[in-house]
Amino acid sequence: MTAPKIAATDVSRRDFLRFGAVAGGGFFIASYLEPLGKLVEGRHTLAPADATLNAYIRIMADGSVTIVGKNPEVGQGIKTMLPMLIAEELDVDWKTVKVEQGQLDTKNFQGQVAGGSSATPSNWLPMRQVGAAGRAMLIAAAAATWNVPAAECETDKGMVKHAASRKSLSYGDLAAKAATMTPPDLKTVKLKDVKDFRIIGQRTRNVDAHAIVTGKPLYGIDVTVPGMLYATFVKCPVFAGKVVSANIDAIKALPGVKQVFVVEGGTNLGGLLPGVAILADSWWQAKSARTRLKVTWDEGATASQSSVGFAAKAAELSKQPPQRSLRKDGDVDAALASAAKTIKADYFYPFIAHASLEPQNCTAHMKADGTMEIWAPSQNPAPGRSMVAQTCGIPADNITVHLTRMGGGFGRRLSNDYMVEAAWIAKVAQVPVKLLWMREDDIQHDFYRPAGFHYFTGGIDATGKVTAWRDHFVSFGEGNNFAAGANIGGTEFPQHFVPNFALDASVMPLGVPTGFLRAPGSNGIAFATQSFIDELAHAAGKDPLLFRLDLLSNVQPDVPAAAPGGFPQAPYDHARARAVLELVRDKSGWGKTKLAKGTGMGVAFHFSHRGYFAEVVQATVSKEGKLKVDKVWVAGDIGSVIINPLNAENQVQGSVLDGLAQAFGQEITIDKGRTVQSSFDDFPLLRFVEAVPVEVHFAKNDIAPTGLGEPALPPVIPALCNAIFVATGKRVRTLPLSNQDLRWS
């Protein structure tokens, strides 16, 4: 079939073919998971186009270097960052590197997922090893050419040099020969010393920046396949409701409409749901036809559920013994009985949509030979392909999935519902199909950040120390299973820092799809936990920041610290948590600034996704209750190296402002089983006037670097609410703030 007009990267294929013809094949380094020798040898038997699938690195005879970024790019900057790691150890000039997006290739690439802030920790070593292996093979080629020991050869920005004989050859000259060298063992390949990094740690611009600012087609929505029809898919507003009947024939007669059919679908909220597909010559015609569509739905058993009902059920559950205990250290009841002060508080955070700006979409082409080609803006394409295979009855090996740049994801695109919808519709229609959702579809059929209810009781002794902590977390799920993203780990902070600690959970059933929103779990838990810690600090009459430092010093020797909840798991390092708190204290001028009434500073910290972040918010609230954030200070610890500081700063600022937007006004409510909100009118994103200065600092240590897409978000919400308390004396226990009365006198 004809290649879709999506990106100009296919040009490199022509270069490869040209080079292949001249020099008998390019030089490429295959996946670190596959024996390099096998694949390098295999290049002689693979067609050039196939060979490129497995390649991370291609060096052309003219010396130009192409590096494949294997991970999906959702705005986190991974398409720039992973190739930086390879280029560093390959020792090439970054300016000469062309970056190409890899397609889904589970045979040769591992971890093609944008989630869990996992790409940095899981690729930090392997990607550098891939680059270093390439460098070693180029050196071996040069050494063989000159008949000198490899150990005497050095590299410098795309050249191999032999100092004694003053010989040098470019990587381009050596590429063909290098491909015949025995690949080194990745485990023993020599990596650069940190002090010799020339690319890692440099402020490096997004490799797609030019394409973005000139409007080149990059995103899923931009894919065009010759002969394709445009589809809209109408689902029941009540999740998984079935089609009873629809005026299909009337819709078929409308202008431009080519096919209309019912999709039976299933009941799994993460899979193909029932609905009506309308295919037309243009998306506008499909969408226009949709306004005339009349469907009688069988709304099913969840049509009566509502946010009001969930809240009532949560309140009821909170008064009953918890369904199960997730963690119990010491004796909370006894400690509360002997506490100098006990404090009780109930916290709530709502469902939230992801609202990525590019609405869900996917393009699929079912071909006559039984294979399928898919262009998917997916953060997690491998499970998407499996679901398509299973649902559509196509062997997974017969499905090619191209990864497109994504117009935001924030966890929404970890779900692949749009992919299976496009695939199914294309299979039925027997023509290439571009499925595109309306904004309203996107808001009303999300996998929402689940709402959560925390019922806290805390006890402090006469010296102000926390002696008891109980959280009865009321969430969604069935039996011992939490709904997706609705979980909590038994060792959530302050477990291990309070002698008598209990974390209990009760769940209620839910017929609303939920999933993972940037810093899942943490984005709600941090609000509740760090706000309640603030309540304890004020009850103890202590400075809230100092109170937290003291709490972190109160390590319970008899209470083992297991890994905290969320993923990826890692042990809690209280020294790192203290360090970021101290750093943000120093940078924000905490406690040193005299603030007028109505203005306050609040602090919070949280550990998630292997990163430690402490944040201070200064906020001002007018007597009439109008809130204005003045500034946010951030101190983060994600290890020894900030790989791309230019992007890191952007990610942190974006995360913090994202958190503010959640706190300000984001809420999804359910009524009559369906989502009430439908657009940016009733689900507001942050705006320019709300974009306040965010000052970013990093603490450094010797720990290998970890991810940054998520951990900066959670602390800002409680830090803001804690600032509001200082400014107004009003404790915010329910989000969003737009529902709260912040007036003071």
């Binding site: 030019h210 506008w284 226009s288």
Partner: protein
């Protein structure tokens, strides 16, 4: 209906439903994918183009209202990304996902055409209806100031050695 108008200086005639918005005419009829669809409700600004020089949402502008007009899209803002706003966007590495940035750039270019030296408040007022889900607002604001500098120095601007963009 048949409608004739100019896109990026070129005369075009399309034959599409009269209520079809300019956005879809650009994207699907003329295969110009730079202008983005975010909401279709004039709420997000991803679809911003210039209509006779002024910033306008293309997602709710029916093609019938475009007859005879001169439209500029992100693809036609400059020959190859050399407009001061595009240069500044690259220099400051504004984009995260990048999806809203065509609309942001078009809105910023229209602002600078009217007000060559906007202050932060001017920017916030002019740009407040352009949403960025990644919240790159701080860099957009800084990039607009930087674009104003570049424009003041003449176009195209070659950065002097050692000269730095505005720090955030």
């Amino acid at each position: 209906m048949k409608v004739s108008f100019k896109v990026n200086g070129q005369a075009k005639t399309v034959d599409v439903p009269g209520d079809m918005p300019l956005l879809w005419t650009l994207r699907d009829t003329l295969d110009m994918k730079g202008t983005k669809f975010g909401c279709g409700l004039s709420q997000c600004g991803a679809c911003t183009v210039h209509f006779n020089g002024a910033a306008m949402r293309s997602c709710m502008t029916p093609i019938s209202a475009v007859a005879g007009a001169s439209i500029t899209t992100i693809e036609g803002l400059s020959a190859d990304g050399t407009h001061a706003v595009q240069q500044a966007w690259k220099e400051l590495d504004v984009a995260q996902c990048g999806y809203c940035q065509a609309g942001q750039i078009m809105a910023a270019a229209a602002l600078l055409a009217k007000n060559p030296t906007p202050c932060d408040a001017d920017i916030d007022t002019a740009m407040n209806e352009n949403l960025c889900r990644c919240a790159t607002y701080l860099r957009i604001r800084a990039a607009i100031h930087r674009a104003a500098e570049i424009k003041a120095q003449g176009t195209p601007v070659v950065k002097k050695a050692g000269e730095k963009g505005r720090q955030l």
